[in-house]
């Protein structure tokens, strides 16, 4: 993944160079992680929007000088955590009925959570990219199989007009293509590399 045109480092370089499409791709990949970290801090949706704004503006500002562009997910996670804590501190200052200081999340205790979020974000981004590489027919079938609650084979058979008996074999074939897709195999190769460098996150803002 690191060597092909869609690697994180390439996306960062292209975005720093003025390519809006590369920026959008970064957002599609990592906005879910920013959102998810905010939920972990139990922020309101208004506060989450503030955090998002702070994180993306910091990234826009530092696109050209990230020390380790390939560690962008770690940088974003750290920047998100910092913004969440800033919002929580601000709320505590103005809301006398807010949580007492001891109940506020402790940054050090949250490092494991942040680490998990980074790993999940990279896995999810690779899976979504692999999914988008599949033929429409496979995407349709797999989409139906991952709904919650899952659709019955009888329903799928009616909607896709395929015999119930062929759903199982098609499911297996589509999953095999997913497994062998460029994005997912590149991700698996990447995973055997040494642990990712955890970047220090965006510089402090006023």
């Amino acid at each position: 993944m690191r060597d092909d045109s869609s690697s994180v480092a390439r996306l960062v370089a292209r975005a720093a160079d003025g390519d809006q499409a590369a920026w959008n791709e970064i957002i599609e990949r990592y906005a879910p992680m920013v959102w998810s970290i905010c939920l972990r801090y139990r922020l309101s949706s208004q506060d989450i929007e503030d955090v998002g704004q702070g994180v993306w503006l910091a990234l826009v500002e530092h696109l050209g000088d990230l020390r380790e562009p390939s560690a962008l997910p770690g940088w974003l996670a750290t920047a998100t955590q910092r913004e969440c804590l800033r919002v929580l501190r601000a709320a505590r200052k103005y809301d006398r009925f807010g949580p007492v200081p001891d109940e506020l999340p402790h940054p050090a205790a949250d490092d494991a959570m942040i680490e998990q979020e980074i790993i999940a974000a990279e896995r999810n981004a690779a899976l979504r990219a692999a999914f988008s590489e599949l033929a429409p027919r496979c995407r349709e079938l797999l989409s139906m199989l991952i709904t919650d609650p899952p659709r019955s084979y009888a329903e799928i058979s009616t909607i896709l007009r395929i015999p119930v008996g062929s759903i199982g074999p098609q499911r297996a074939r589509c999953l095999e293509r997913l497994r062998r897709s460029r994005s997912l195999s590149a991700f698996m190769d990447g995973e055997s590399m040494p642990a990712r460098v955890r970047a220090s996150g965006g510089k402090t803002r006023a």
Partner: protein, 151 residues
């Protein structure tokens, strides 16, 4: 992801990945994409170099006496901008002094322009909504932006 994931595990992981994306509101994604509008590869960046609210050397007495004024400084290779934030206005000084324009840009996209006089002085009111940054330009081609400011 592991090679030994079976079909059920792979399908579950795919479901999780798709849902993680689908639960994010469209406007959150849109706002994030729009933030790129502030990307400016030409302007020189002036970084925050002083913030009175973080100055440990100020005694508690001095701090509370001046609680209503916050002082900030931004510095680049060629310029610095000193800023004082009072209750309802923003007062600043460009060093070295040069006539020009200061534009306050908010993260939400609003802008207000204020002239900078020959002494390098400017004043803007009301205080822009946070976060915002200042963009300083002169007729001679100076093009400087500060880091984002959250008050």
């Amino acid at each position: 992801m592991r090679d030994d994931w079976d079909d059920d595990q792979l399908l579950a992981a795919l479901g999780e990945a798709i849902r993680a994306r689908d639960t994010v509101p469209a406007r959150f994604i849109e706002a994030a994409k729009n933030a790129y509008a502030w990307h400016n590869i030409d302007a020189e960046l002036a970084e925050l170099t002083y913030d009175s609210s973080r100055d440990e050397s100020l005694s508690a007495a001095v701090r509370s006496e001046n609680a209503s004024i916050r002082a900030l400084a931004f510095t680049s290779a060629h310029f610095s901008i000193e800023l004082e934030v009072t209750e309802d206005s923003l007062v600043g000084q460009i060093i070295p002094p040069r006539e020009g324009t200061i534009e306050a840009q908010t993260g939400a996209g609003a802008t207000t322009a204020t002239p900078v006089d020959k002494m390098g002085f400017f004043s803007t009111e009301p205080i822009p909504a946070s976060p915002f940054r200042l963009h300083y330009r002169t007729a001679e081609g100076t093009d400087l932006v500060t880091g984002w400011i959250t008050l």
